[in-house]
Each structure stands twice: as C-alpha cells, then as structure tokens.
Amino acid sequence: MDLTFSERELAFRDELRAWLAANDPGPEPAEERAHYAWRRDFQRRLYEGGWAAVHWPPEHGGRGATLTESAIFFEELGRARAPLPANVLGILLGGPTLMVWGTDAQKDRFLGPILSGEEIWCQGFSEPDAGSDLAALKTRAVPDGDGWRVTGQKVWTSGAQYSKWCMLVARTDTEAAKHKGLTYFLMDMEQDAVQVRPLRQITGESEFNELFIEDAWIAGDCLVGGVGNGWKVALTTLMNERAGLAFFLQVRLRRMLDDLIDEAAARGLLEDDVVADRLGALHVKAEILRLTAYRGLTAIERYGQPGPEGSLTKWMWSDANQELAQVAADVLGPEALLQGTRWGYELMRARGNSIEGGTTEILKNIVAERVLGLPRAGRA
C-alpha cells in the first residue's frame, strides 16, 4: 500500500500543471453556445499541446498514459477549472472502441479528427422505448447496395447538434434474439435524413437531443466489428464510459464543496453544529469517492479487471452531488434559488446525475447481480 504518486506520476502531473497554468481556459461562459465554443477551443489547445487524449497509445497521438496518469489528467483538468474537451465522447468512447474493433482503414480515417476536435462524435444508443433496456432498441438498418439504409429514432443524444459522427446501434436482424440482431455503425450526421431536435431540460438548456432518422445512408465501410456483433461492440463503449470521468467529476464536486464550505465559514455558519455536520458529511463522501476511485484503479492494474469499486463510484458521485446542491440551497437560502446562479443551476442539473449514464437503480442491479452474485431480478 502506497497512497502517494510515483516519481513518474508526479513528473507527469507537474508537466501538466505547468501547461494548464500557461493555458488558462478563462472563465466558464454561462450561455450554451458560448460554453460549447469554449470547450471546443480548449480541446484545440489540448490537441496542439499533445494533451487531448493522454490514455491513447502514442501511435494514435496519445501519450500512452497509465490508468493512474489518466486519473491525474482528469483531476488536474478539474482542479484548473478547465472544461472537458468538446469531443469527450469521441475521445473517451469512440476512439477506444475503434482501437478494439475498428479496421486499420477506420483507425486511419477517424482517430485523427477525433483528437483534434475537427469531427465531433455523439452516441446514438438510447431510444424512447429502449433506455435502461438497451437491447430492446428498434432502429432498423437494411443493406442497400454497398451500404446501409437506417430508419428510427434516438434520444438523449448529447451534443448531436455539433456532431459529425454518431456511434449508432441498430437492428440488422429482426429474427435473431434480442442481443444478437444488432450492429454498430458510424453514421454521418451531415445528411437531411437525420434531423436533430433539442430536448429542453429542467435547467432550461438543451444538452440532449432527439434524433429522427428517415432512410439515412451509411457507407459499408462505416460498420464496426461485423454484422450482428453490435451488442459486444456497444459494451466496449459503455465500459469506457465510467472509467475516466469519475476523476473529473470527483474533483469538480470537491471544488464546489470547498467553495460552499468557504462561503459558510465566511458567514459564520460553521459554528452551527447542524450545518457543520451536513458539510462534514459531504466532505466524507467526497473523500471516500476519491479514495474508492483510486482503489478501483489498483484493482484493475493488479488483477486486470475492475473490482467492486468501479461499479460504486458513479453511484457515490451522483448521490453526493445531489446532496451538495441541496445543502447549498438549505444553507445559503433564497439566493441559491435564483436563476442564472451557480447553485440555482446546480440544484436542477444535479437531478440528472442519477439518471444519465446509467440510472442509480440500474447500477444497483449491476452491483447486486455482477458484484454480489445475487440471483437475477425477475424480468417479464
């Protein structure tokens, strides 16, 4: 047991810190489009500095960072109040999926523009009737000449309005069993057959969209991992979804909590034991989240597979973040309930945390079945 960073890790961190200090992303814009532009510009700078995808192997433009270095990268990004790169889905999900399943030609074609942010990626998995039960999806792809024609509807597609490519899972065989008739495609978003409609969230903004796909064209060389293999390919994407982000989110939570504790202290509220207890409870959750996330890395580095910790951190984070926003509202009073303020926004935005990227209920099912080995919950 050694809960310090190695010399190599410290050198990595210091180099990154120096770079971030010299490349201050500036204040976070409140307006949605400006916010996106801020993230895109920052990705460009990351790319030019060689920091866009530290966990990618050097032959694809990464730094071949270890899991711990990758965790440090996201921690430092959060610490510097820098945004996630605009193409976070391409970098964390799309690229790594192609590295496992893609042909050499696909890697040559797609990886570079993901890294530079020239081509933004989105994820077309969920459908109105296939959310947690992803394999129930109905979007249909049929062969047509040397490609495919796709028709269907997708939902909760983050960043679709900015995207060039969509990681699309569609049904190619209606006769096969639920999980077996699926295929993974890369769909060009720049065609009339794909309509993007923003979904307005409870925050008032539109991070997510609906996609209406009507006879859209997918070229034959944009199929990933073989016909009928879509479920397996999609799982690779989903496995990657929860790994790196935990560290960024954990630091963001820590930073906001520190701000709240400072604010409470400045107003003399920490002398109230009830307030101090609630803030202390959040401190404990934030620190346990960080420690547990690092324990998860140890498990992967030692045993080659995630331990129980990996399944717990997203659940811990969403719980803690929702509690943080509520404590802020309770402690700071009406001013934390105003529109256009950080806490007023966070109070609304945090409700999505326990739904996006796997609901807490689904995470509990996963923990119960795959970590604890309990009998599978009854399903119709």
Partner: protein, 329 residues
Amino acid sequence: MNFGFSEDQQTIKATARELLADRSPMARVREAAESGAADDDLRRELCELGWPGIAVPEKHGGQGLGAVELAVLLEELGYAVAATPFLGSVLAAAAIAHAGDDGQRARWLPGLASGELAGAFGGPALAVGAPGADVLVLVEGGAARVLAAADADVEPLATVDPTRAYGRVAGEGEPLPGDVAGALDRGAAAIAAELVGVCQRALDMTVAYVSERRQFGIPVGAFQAVAHRCAQMLLQTEGARSATYFAAWAADAAPDRLAEAAGLARAAAGTAATEVTGSAIQAHGGIGFTWEADVHWLFKRAQLDAALLGGGSTARIALARLVAGRAAA
C-alpha cells in the same frame, strides 16, 4: 498510488481468515457469549502466534510491523466477531507505544506484546477489555493516562455485546506525556478496521441467506427491494474500507495526513457498521430477529465498536471545521 496489500500482508490476511474460520466459528462465538466467558483457547493460540505484538516495536518484544498489518488482523477478527480480548490489548499497546515515555514502554509493552498482560482502552464510561485487564489506558478530555490494574477501579458492564468484556473505569494512574492525539488517531484506525470486518461478514451472511431463502417461488435476493438493500450494504462497506485503509496507511507512512484520515475513518466506519448490520437483520426477515440466527452478534459488536470510536457526528463537525481552516490558511 497503490491500495494493494503486499505479499506479506496478503499472507497475514489469508492465514487469519483461515485460522479464525476454524477456531472461531459462530458456534464458538455463541458459546462464549452465552457463558459470559471469553474463548480462552483462542486467546492462547493468538498469543502463541504473536498477534497481540504485531505492531509493537521489536525492541519491546513485538513483531515491529505497522498499523496496516494490525488493521488486516483486526478486520479478520471483526469478520469472525471473535470472542477474545484482543482489541483492548492492541489499543492499549498502540497508545503506550506512540504517546508513552520510555519507562512506560519498557514496563508495559513486552507483556502486552507477548499476551502475558491483558490491556484495556477507552473512556471512564466505556473501556473495552477493562474487566480482567492488567493495564488500562484511559482517555478523558483529549488527555490519556495509563493505570496498572491495582490503581484502577473497574466496574464490569453487562453491555448489549456479550462477546467481549467492557467496563467503567476510574483511577489516577500516570499521564501519557507524548502525542496523545496521534495515539488516538491510530486507535481510531484500528477500531475502524474491526468494524470493516464486521460489515463484510454481515454482507456475506446476508448475500448467502437471500440467495437461499425462497418466497413466491424465487430466491428473495431476486427481488429488487432486497437486492438494492444488499447493494447499499456493499457501498457502505467499501466506503468505510477506503477510509480505514487510508487511515492505517497514514499512521505508518504519512503522519501529517493522519488527523484527517482518522477523522474520515471515525465518520465513516461507525455509521456504516451500525447501518450495514442493522440492514443484515432486516434482510434476514423474522429469522434475523431471533436469538438463534447469528447476525445479531454483528449488530451488537458494531454498536459497541461505534461507541468506542466516538460519534460520527462529532467527527463530521470536526472535519468540516478542519477543512474550512485549511482553506483559510
């Protein structure tokens, strides 16, 4: 950053798990609890193996290993809910080793390390191991003192946890002149480790039970209400474990981070253990409420260990003020 145990630590863990499964099954715990007498055979065997001295410096007759090794042993003893006065002895030894003077160390540590002497640790209202102890460490108002049995007025307490002896203690003794706060933080890491073991056992017993027990034609563990309770138990167990390992590691390797790490362990482990073991009773249904089922030993041990550790609320309030102070500095 590496949370893994060394090979030696893994060996200690595996050996302890195996030995305790054999020597201290629940039937033995029950026998000791019902008769009101500690399991003497087990105590003798643990002393022969040198367990009480695992973290005592070699020059005082111990094995000279660290807080992490001690935590590993305590986690397994908690897992077994072993009916042995081990915790009082190792807590007394840790306090004397860290905050005692040379005379106190020379006088008490060799006996505590070999197991020839039994130790007790706690406050005036509750000290673990007090009845029958040869040496007691008494904590009061941030100061600690060491008392020989002859100087201590011990009133045995019939607590809800009959697997171990506890008592009230009065008496003068002599102060531990060193770093008492550091000694208490080391004690907190050790108690938290026992609680993590208690949590893990409660979880394992519950998972086994709800996988077997059938109602409406299926195992009750297939119902999400039950399965999600088990998932919550895992979340709390692993959270307490993360904080506890951090505290044990800091005790040996990063004393400057120990105050905060021990605060986390105090805030996390007691609450986790009382909730996880309470949940274990609930998930066992009616059987869980009977004397015949063994889950109640875990709930009872959790209550007493949590009381020794100090209230979670006190720890959380202190942590919030510590963090605010750090930010202001």
